[in-house]
């Protein structure tokens, strides 16, 4: 899945990672591997987390 993760490292090795370009709960899986980098101190959802994943409807209806 096409996406981008923005990582900021500061304060002597603190990592803050944010997923861009993905809406919905699927992005939780994209940051799971960050837990292997060290001790998780915080985790949360931004407003887009609660958006529903986009569903494309291609059916054309003629009346």
């Amino acid at each position: 899945m096409k996406h981008e993760i923005d990582v900021v490292i500061s304060d002597g090795g603190k990592i803050e990672a944010t997923v861009n370009g993905v809406e919905g709960p699927v992005c939780k899986d994209l940051t799971k591997w960050f837990q292997k980098l060290g001790k998780m101190v915080d985790k949360g959802a931004t407003k887009d987390m609660y958006k529903k994943e986009k569903v494309r409807i291609g059916e054309k209806v003629e009346l």
Binding site: G12, E16, V19
Partner: protein, 135 residues
């Protein structure tokens, strides 16, 4: 954006530690690596042992003030710093930079293993990594 994660990292790999040490000015040619911890030389460091050592001549060149070796001992899987009192002021100023670069090396290595393209920039003492996946 929809998910954020904050993680605190320890330095566990020698290569990541050396990346951090290079970032604060140490010449990698003068960084000694010992599988079995070796003794640190110097007044306050006497008796202490470390796996990664910067001898006092190189330490003094970089810190401008040190009189003993600087060492990093691997304890419970992570490197712990042995810094003499004479280098403490320098260490307090440069510690975060060293750890930030070591952590960036660790994160970059793991991201590349997962198929990400990684670009690194620095701004106001922070390191920013952009991890991109286009498939």
């Amino acid at each position: 954006m929809s998910e954020y994660t904050i993680v605190e990292c320890d330095i566990e790999e020698e290569s990541h530690l050396i990346t951090g040490l290079k970032a604060v000015g140490f010449n990698p040619e003068f960084i000694e690596v010992h599988n079995a911890p070796a003794t640190l030389q110097g007044y306050h460091g006497a008796g202490a042992k470390a796996n990664v050592i910067i001898r006092k001549e190189e330490a003094r060149r970089v810190t401008g003030c040190g009189y003993s070796d600087i060492g990093f001992e691997k304890v419970d899987g992570a490197y712990k710093a042995h810094i003499d009192r004479s280098s403490q002021t320098w260490w307090n100023k440069n510690r975060d930079t060293m750890y930030n670069h070591a952590t960036a090396a660790k994160a970059t290595e793991m991201a590349k293993k997962r198929g990400y393209r990684v670009t690194q920039t620095e701004e106001e003492g922070r390191i920013r990594l952009k991890l991109r996946k286009s498939y």
